[in-house]
Symmetry: C2
Subunit: 566 residues, 2 copies
């Protein structure tokens, strides 16, 4: 099916500004109850201790890039903002929480919950679709501690998979190359309904071109694609089934009364043609009937699945006969899809066959006919196809893309870094799990050639790094790892996407298309060796300013003695 | 938090009978548009060819058990029935489909779509929660070919992940053993919001005891659990923060005016007690403040996360001091949670400490205090813990359970097996991908000891296998693999769950609890060597009757010659 790019369903309210209403999350199941029970037991304990309104700052970040790579795409932000913009407990939800907590919990807590919203919460975040790195906050969420904890679980849920699948998509795009069409075909294998819908949205964001998922097309305006399955082919028994055989020519000037005969004539011409003779014998007639029926339904969009019986002996000759008959009537077939077998070999053989047809019958561009491949594709198989040589123009990728089979989870965490203006550090015997305390600012420093060199975190009130100034970047936990950087450009990473009601402007939420463009542009801006599939060069380890470094270690020593008195 | 088993939200309409209304899918995003575009292009082509009402039979099945195991739990059926019971296109949906198909598609098709529902579709299925095996249909869907194809994608989406995660849950239960409490903690890492909600539902079905997911508790009546996080602990700075220090005794007979002092007294007693002296020095005071605050909020449900600073030197002594103070007032603490470190070692050390407290201070059952463990647990780590020896009573399992990290997708397929009473076979060079044609009946044959021996498929009109009768079971594609079976019990597997409007009774949809009971009972009924984690004995390869065997091979030969004429 030709690409259909329809305006997204919610076009009217997607381009928000600070005065418009932000709609709720795409999935209506995303409510304040889509959370862990402990957020509510903690809320009660904070409330009971009179601590619920203490001002807390949490960082949301991940510790390690997925898929053995050196980058991650940040995605899911819009859904988080949609949630908090509409964060309010219904009476039914409060009744359920009451029934879930001990009877001893006081009524006042439920009165408090009834009034909870996110008007006093602030969300700073890296723009959605950005390239991101471990340890640097993707989001900083500030507000009354009980409320901020209530959004922890849904935020992590909305960010973790979105970022994982957007990254997976970008990685598949990287291996496939820019010129190939990439189609997301994973709905049937996704982890639940919005595993499917999220996969479509975030694969598109990460660089895919289209999806098979109709609902995702409707919700987000993603181009949707699809033709037919093996069942369609095997549902036909013979050519006798085709009752209505006429087809008008494309320009409406004439009508072919018996398109079936026209196809049969072409099939015979192909079979006995000088260059092809002997390549195939009898083709499968139910397949031929299916192809003809599909062409009669979609003469402008004829794309056939050719591997139900035998690709080279049946599928390709049948396809070519139909395509040539269509060509007689002014229609141009789109191509074929291969869904099994040796895709490198079959695509090359198919290309040869198409070129032979072009030569033999003088049909311009027949040799360039589109070849789509599917069947359990992933980064490895795409890479293997590239190495073997192939003639595929479009890849349909399902299971491995949408379930992120190579690594099914991203480990984003949400850590308290400050309360009541007091910095907090979470220690761990595993240094990689020690949190970086303090409310921070984060910057990306760019070098002469336009590539990002390093991300640096500073205390909130430190002066920002300046262009052309020499800056010491320190590894937060490794004393000897440090480097001077003279940035040619400095980009502040965290922007305010939700100021609550307390003050002014916030970043607009861009359209999905704009986010996708940002993502593609950011990926192109990276130094290529960070991006390669095998053994990529690590992006300069995330760093902190000298001042923040000293403060972290002061705090650490302050907390650490607990265990050392023994 | 103590287990809270609340009635499911939809209790009123969950116990359906043939006269009650079946509600729509749990996730309102599951609509007829949650499908691949090719289902609609095929529907148009069928309609255009006048073929859309031809009676088709499709089998839904998988080809291989997941996780290297020898069984699979079938789940997701109820959601499928909810979808088809409410399957109807809205005007907006039809407008979207129209905008997605070529302009040349005729108006009559949209009139047809407007009238489409599933009243003429029949669904036969294995009851939800059943143990299932490769190649035997989990579902047989019959009806007008265009309509049945429209439900293919949503059915696969609803079955694939549900069955995968239910199986994963059952496998975790098998390794953990019956006596342990298993808690699903995966919402934050799940693949999207209903990745999380589905995980909670189907983990419970597969044998977990509870979830942290509040919304899943509300929707399905699953017990929900949770206490507090590291952030709660580190949000406290010192004991001075605790303003309201009084706590009434459990029986209401007295009030302790300074619970903080009571705890401090106990901490000192523990520290200098004969058996403990020297094990710890100063404990972390912010941790102690957090524990006391939590205990004041939940004196009946005190369960503390003890690894924020140092488990044995701070968390456990702090916990014990609070638990002993609670004990003085008649409350019984629930226990502790470990979320990092060497869980085998720490749980054993913790148990020793608890027993010492019991002995030293004469507090009955203190040694049996609950120990919950979490932190990236999976089948392997549970198995390793068992081998090392541990003292954990409850496991909280998240990422690896809900994302099915070990194998993130189940490959259920939906294959045409008959159209217009003509059997259809899908060939493939890979024999494991050849479909088993014909509308079939499926039986499970049980042996003397009550174990299932083999599943057998027969043609629809063959007489069913009889108890005590000798039956030849043949491998469908391997001539030499066959066996005689004399069943002691014969169970027909596929039951009618959706008769459409055409005729009578259908199976009632059981409650989630009933499905869970069936699942646990079926798992217990399996021969243990099929169930073990490493190198399980394969369940007798799925078989067909002698008659069906002959027919398959007749059909195969009939279709196969296509490629042999060359």
């Amino acid at each position: 099916m030709e690409e259909k790019s329809n305006g997204p369903k919610e076009d009217g309210n997607r381009r928000k500004n600070n005065n418009t209403v932000i709609p709720g999350p795409t999935n209506p199941m995303v409510t304040p109850l889509l959370s862990d029970l402990y957020q509510f037991t903690m809320a009660y304990a904070y409330w009971k201790a009179g601590k619920h309104n203490e001002r807390a700052v949490f960082d949301l970040y991940f510790r390690k890039n997925p898929f053995g790579g050196e980058y991650t795409i940040f995605a899911g932000l819009e859904e988080c903002i949609r949630l908090i913009a509409n964060f309010k407990f219904t009476a039914e939800e409060i009744a359920f929480i009451r029934s879930s907590l001990p009877k001893t919990c006081e009524d006042g807590f439920y009165d408090y919950l009834r009034g909870v919203d996110c008007s006093d919460v602030k969300v700073y975040a890296v723009p959605e679709g950005s390239v991101a790195f471990p340890k640097v906050p993707l989001m900083r969420v500030e507000g009354p501690i009980a409320v901020v904890q209530l959004v922890e679980t849904p935020f992590l849920n909305l960010i973790n998979y979105a970022s994982l699948v957007a990254t997976n998509s970008a990685r598949h795009r990287f291996v496939a190359g820019k010129s190939k069409l990439l189609l997301e075909f994973g709905l049937r294998r996704a982890q639940g309904p919005d595993g499917g819908i999220g996969a479509s949205k975030y694969s598109y964001m990460g660089g895919f071109d289209a999806t098979s998922n109709v609902e995702a097309g409707r919700l987000f305006g993603i181009p949707i694609k699809g033709t037919h399955s093996h069942a369609f082919v095997s549902s036909f028994m013979s050519l006798d089934e085709i009752v209505e055989k006429s087809l008008q020519s494309r320009d409406g000037s004439s009508t072919c009364e018996d398109f079936v005969s026209l196809v049969q004539t072409w099939l015979s011409k192909i079979k006995w043609s000088h260059l092809i003779q002997g390549i195939f014998g009898e083709t499968n007639q139910s397949e031929l009937a299916a192809f003809i029926s599909y062409a009669l339904a979609f003469p402008n969009d004829f794309l056939a699945l050719v591997d139900t019986y035998d690709v080279m002996r049946s599928g390709i000759p049948n396809f070519c006969a139909v395509a040539l008959a269509l060509n007689d009537l002014g229609y141009k077939a789109l191509g074929i899809r291969l869904d099994s077998g040796d895709l490198a070999y079959l695509s090359c053989e198919t290309r040869k066959f198409f070129r032979t047809i072009e030569k033999e019958f003088g049909v311009p561009d027949f040799g360039k006919m589109g070849i789509t491949a599917s069947n359990d594709l992933n980064e490895e198989t795409l890479d293997a196809l590239n190495k073997q040589g192939h003639e595929v123009d479009a890849f349909g990728i399902g299971t491995y893309l949408v379930t992120c089979y190579a690594q099914a989870a991203l480990g984003c965490v949400f850590k308290l870094v400050e309360i009541n203006n007091q910095p907090r550090i979470k220690l761990s015997e595993d240094v990689s799990k020690v949190s970086i305390p303090c409310k921070k600012r984060c910057y990306r420093l760019y070098g002469k050639e336009g590539y990002p060199l390093v991300d640096i975190m500073t205390g909130e009130n430190e002066p920002p790094p300046k262009v052309a100034e020499r800056i010491l970047c320190r590894h937060p936990f490794s004393e000897s790892k440090r480097a001077y950087v003279v940035p040619q450009r400095v980009e502040e990473l965290l922007k305010c996407f939700w100021p609550g009601s307390s003050d002014g402007a916030r970043e607009e939420l861009p359209s999905l298309k704009e986010i996708r463009d940002r993502c593609i542009q950011q990926l192109e801006q990276m130094r290529p060796d960070h991006m390669r599939r095998l053994n990529p060069t690590p992006y300069k380890v995330v760093s902190v300013s000298a001042k923040l470094y000293d403060f972290i270690h002061f705090l650490w020593l302050n907390e650490a003695p607990v265990g050392e008195l023994q």
